[in-house]
């Protein structure tokens, strides 16, 4: 899953950022299909669920290898705030009272990776919608909500045979923007309809758009406040070595404890650039997601360690970074 580039910077508006990153280990025993009558990782599971619940109900980006992504989806489903088919990222920005700036979402596992972008400037809107599908058919749905100056958004998208239709809804409280976007596409082209409304006179009025080949958006309604919102939640799946004891999956490796200590320090510092990835792979550490932490961790993010143990010969951490 790729990460989005930052949203457009609004002119004359304000911006807020609320980023939460959670790290969990890619323990397959956390998956419901591997459940037994008793839970061999009950304490770890509890820590994972508690941390994942803090990611909120909005879209969550997953950084993981394929197995870790399954673990992530299972945990997100278990906490109930996630519509399992759409790990995604939603960004919305407005300037001069216009509604949704930019929205992206993607899905995997036979559903559509969908991509939607819109941007507005100076009271007008140009919209751009992109969708793509794999495995022939696709449908995706994404919801996001926010309060206190943020935007709540809702996205629905579906695609068949390389075509796509999408729908976006957004709402906000306390004078912020509420928007709604609907879009559909056929034969590689797109027609979209964007609607937005707001309370207390703040944000954009109705906005409608349709596109064919090159997107064209017609705007109705009065400009209102400026707004940019970025909400980001990330679930990173990874763990330390699997060589901590003779009964560990990778048997005992004398280098494992030191590696895990170094990795722990790097995670706590929020800087994994110095981690010896080659050694880690030799020690069966799961680092695909962890190695990308640098892309998303903000400097000075507050770190919390919820779990730190190696009960089965594998080093597990549950950590949170909040900024």
């Amino acid at each position: 899953m790729s990460l989005d580039t930052p949203p457009l910077v609004p002119r004359g508006g304000y911006s807020t950022t609320d980023t939460t990153v959670v790290l969990v280990p890619g323990v397959l025993a956390l998956l419901p299909e591997y459940a037994g009558l008793t839970d061999p990782v009950a304490e770890l599971r509890a820590a994972c669920l508690e941390a994942v619940a803090r990611l909120g109900e909005g879209p969550v980006s997953i950084l993981a290898d394929p197995q870790g992504e399954r673990v992530a989806r299972a945990l997100l489903s278990a906490v109930g705030g996630f519509e399992a088919q759409a790990p995604g990222r939603l960004r919305t920005s407005t300037t001069d009272g216009q509604a949704p700036g930019r929205l992206r979402t993607s899905t995997t596992e036979g559903e559509a990776p969908g991509r939607l972008r819109t941007s507005t400037t100076d009271g007008q809107a140009s919209g751009r919608l992109r969708t793509s599908t794999t495995e022939g058919e696709a449908s995706g749905r994404l919801r996001a909500s926010a309060t206190e100056g943020q935007v709540a958004g809702r996205l629905r998208a579906s695609a068949t045979e390389g075509q796509a239709s999408g729908r976006l809804r957004a709402s906000a409280t306390e004078g912020q923007a509420a928007g709604r976007l609907r879009a559909s596409a056929t034969e590689g082209q797109a027609s979209g309809r964007l609607r937005a409304s707001a309370t207390e006179g703040q944000a954009p009025g109705p906005l409608r758009a349709s596109t064919t080949d090159d997107p064209v958006v017609e705007v109705q309604g009065a400009p209102a406040t400026s707004l940019e919102t970025t909400t980001a939640s990330y679930l990173v799946v990874g763990n330390g070595s699997a060589c901590r004891t003779e009964k560990a999956p990778g048997f005992l490796d004398d280098r494992a404890a030191a590696f895990d200590d170094a990795l722990r320090s790097a995670l706590v510092a929020g800087d994994v650039s110095g981690v010896d990835l080659a050694l880690g792979r030799e020690l069966l550490a799961s680092l695909d997601g962890i190695s990308r932490l640098g892309e998303i961790l903000a400097p000075g993010a507050e770190v919390t360690i919820d779990y730190d143990d190696a009960p089965l010969g594998v080093q597990y951490w549950v950590m949170r970074w909040e900024s």
Binding site: G36, P40, V41
Partner: protein, 287 residues
């Protein structure tokens, strides 16, 4: 349908161990080892510890022998049931009797189940169960007289006969007022059957399961196992467990047994293989 055994209820996918407790001086397997009441009570304590959900208390051995009247049977069973009831409120108490008079007294003393091993020889036994909201085990014996051995009995289709008789018995029980969720059927291996009959019933047990009634199997150390392997009582556990495994795969729900631990392991293993039960604790390769 939830299985309701007197005071107790069990989920659709639950398998139950019914441990045999003989209050007899002459039963084939233990030769009177638990004839004394305290010995029988010790046996109850043991099987409870081993995880049995049900005890099946019997005052008369199945094989021919000295005639035991209803009064004597009650004296062996009823007070003992009351003692077990008081000590183990969570335990299902079954009484192995064909007599309505004994069944009534046992239910009044706390029994939850009437296990009629003799296929409805006393037509009033269903009334006794209904009066006390007890469950009933409906067995197939081919219509033989209680405590007789089969002699040259043949069936056109033993499985069809077992299904027809046990389902008819079950319907009679329900008509008499027994809760439909409290009726269990049992092909009754060895009862009114030669070894070939019991083997075929085992082989085709899925047909009995398909009736929808929960199926009880009583295989433990029986002659069809002994004749199959040419082994005496006391050396039939392995054969019993093999028959148990086949029955479990077919979907039997209740297992009337002498050996609780071994049977439980076999039933759990088979049901887990069959995908009806989860492993107890799975971590291998999943760390």
């Amino acid at each position: 349908m939830t299985l309701k055994l007197g005071r107790h209820e069990f989920a659709d996918d639950a398998t139950l161990m019914m441990a045999i407790v003989n209050r007899t001086p002459d039963s084939f397997y233990d030769q009177g080892a638990t004839w004394a009441e305290d010995k029988a009570f010790d046996r109850v304590a043991l099987v409870v510890e081993q995880g049995a959900e049900i005890v099946d208390i019997g005052g008369i051995k199945a094989a021919p022998g000295v005639e035991i009247g209803a009064a004597e049977e009650k004296s062996r069973v009823v007070d003992f049931v009351a003692r077990v009831r008081e000590t183990y409120p969570g335990l299902v108490i079954s009484v192995d009797t064909w007599r309505a008079e004994v069944g009534r007294a046992a239910c009044a003393a706390g029994a939850d189940v009437l296990n009629d091993a003799w296929g409805g020889a006393d037509p009033e036994l269903v009334d006794a169960a209904a009066e006390h909201d007890a469950a009933i085990i409906c067995t197939h014996t081919g219509g033989v007289t209680p405590r007789t051995r089969p002699y040259r009995i043949e069936y056109d289709d033993v499985v069809a006969a077992a299904i027809a008789d046990t389902v008819a018995y079950a319907e009679r029980a329900v008509a008499a007022g027994v809760d439909p969720g409290s009726v269990v059927i049992d092909p009754a291996h060895d009862f009114g059957k030669n070894t070939f009959h019991s083997l075929e019933l085992t082989r085709r047990l899925d047909e009995m399961v398909a009736t929808g009634y929960p199926v009880l199997v009583s295989l433990s150390n029986k002659d069809f196992v002994g004749e199959t392997l040419d082994l005496p009582v006391g050396e039939r556990l392995t054969g019993t467990l093999a028959a148990t495994a086949v029955s479990a795969l077919a979907g039997a729900r209740v297992y009337r047994v002498h050996e609780v631990i071994e049977t439980r392991q076999v039933v759990d293993m088979v049901n887990t293989i069959a995908g009806r039960r989860l492993p107890t604790r799975a971590i291998r390769g999943l760390q």
